[in-house]
Amino acid sequence: MQGTSPSPAGQQQHPIGLYLKVWALLFLLSVMSYAVDYFHLQGLLRWSLILLFMMLKAGLIVAVFMHLAWERLALICAIVLPPLALLVLVGLMASEAGHVHLTRLLYFR
């Protein structure tokens, strides 16, 4: 990332080639995640590949297209850390959903 740091005025000027490369990479990752469905991959392989491609695409968009990679750490932390709280919610709701699923199997079938 040499030569692509923002100027002191906070401007985000980066070579257009970088955007084109990331664009091509996003296309490739989308094709690969579509291929996961097209070739009917199942089980752990399917889920891990879907999540991997999802996180790679999200990371590229946020880091390069939204320029977060070149922002100061204070802003990066303020944007990236709070959504991690959602993981706690996901954990709580996953255990809740498992419980509801079991009670439905017991009483509503």
Binding site: L20, W23, S30, L75, L86, V90
Partner: protein
């Protein structure tokens, strides 16, 4: 300020705040030239807004996960539900794949628009923003087609569907509907900024950072689609 002893520094650091109390003191405390993020207020506020939007979509997707995990009825297979009949065969998720590529392309043209804006090439920046908006409008059009097919042909309703778990419809319409609204709002936003850019409204500011801020919103819409595509359509 840092060279002064701590006690002196605390005495002189905010004279306005020290001299007033009550509501005026509150305002003075929060406005005495403190700055945490070294970016313009517009950019900081857009990031904060996007952060709040992250929680909206995050809770939607968590709710979807909850109903999908807890239902005892099989979940409709998205790969078959969203298949298109092309050339005598069902191609799984074809429309969704095309929509994904359209949205990624729009993100690419938006990034180029931001690049042009920083090179002060406002004609090219505006042109690329119009292309981006056109991609966005195409996406919304395809989504309208998808909804129509699902409602009229497949009989999917928010309260039930012939293929399986009743929660499929409510989760689908809620999540993709909210995302579609964001794309629609983004198209309007991009058109407004591009027109103002062409008419020279931002000339007296000396920069076209507004294009980057609008770009942040647009890339976020693409970002949300990445998660919807993976978690709703592929899962």
């Amino acid at each position: 300020m840092s060279s002064l002893p701590a006690t002196t520094a605390s005495l002189v650091s905010s004279p306005a705040a020290a001299s007033t109390a009550g509501l005026r003191g509150l305002v003075a405390d929060w406005s005495s030239d403190r700055q945490a993020f070294q970016v313009s207020w517009g950019k900081a506020m857009m990031w904060i807004f996007l952060l709040s939007d992250t929680f909206i979509f995050g809770t939607f997707l968590t709710g979807y996960m909850t109903v999908r995990m807890s239902t005892t009825v099989p979940w409709p297979n998205p790969s078959q539900v969203f298949a298109l009949h092309v050339g005598g065969a069902d191609v799984p998720l074809l429309l969704i794949a095309v929509m994904t590529f359209v949205l990624i392309s729009s993100s690419g043209t938006m990034a180029m628009a931001v690049n042009c804006a920083y090179r002060r090439d406002r004609a090219s920046a505006a042109r690329l923003m119009f292309v981006t908006a056109a991609f966005g409008a195409t996406f919304v059009g395809m989504q309208a087609f998808e909804w129509t097919k699902l409602i009229l042909d497949e009989g999917v309703r928010p309260w039930g569907n012939p293929m399986g778990a009743a929660q499929f419809g409510s989760a689908f319409f809620m999540i993709t509907g909210f995302h579609g609204l964001h794309v629609t709002a983004g198209v309007i936003y991009l058109l407004v900024v591009a027109l103002r850019l062409l008419r020279g409204r931002y000339e007296n500011r000396g920069h076209y950072q507004i294009v980057e801020i609008a770009g942040l919103y647009w890339h976020f819409v693409d970002l949300v689609w990445v998660f919807i595509f993976a978690l709703f359509y592929l899962w």
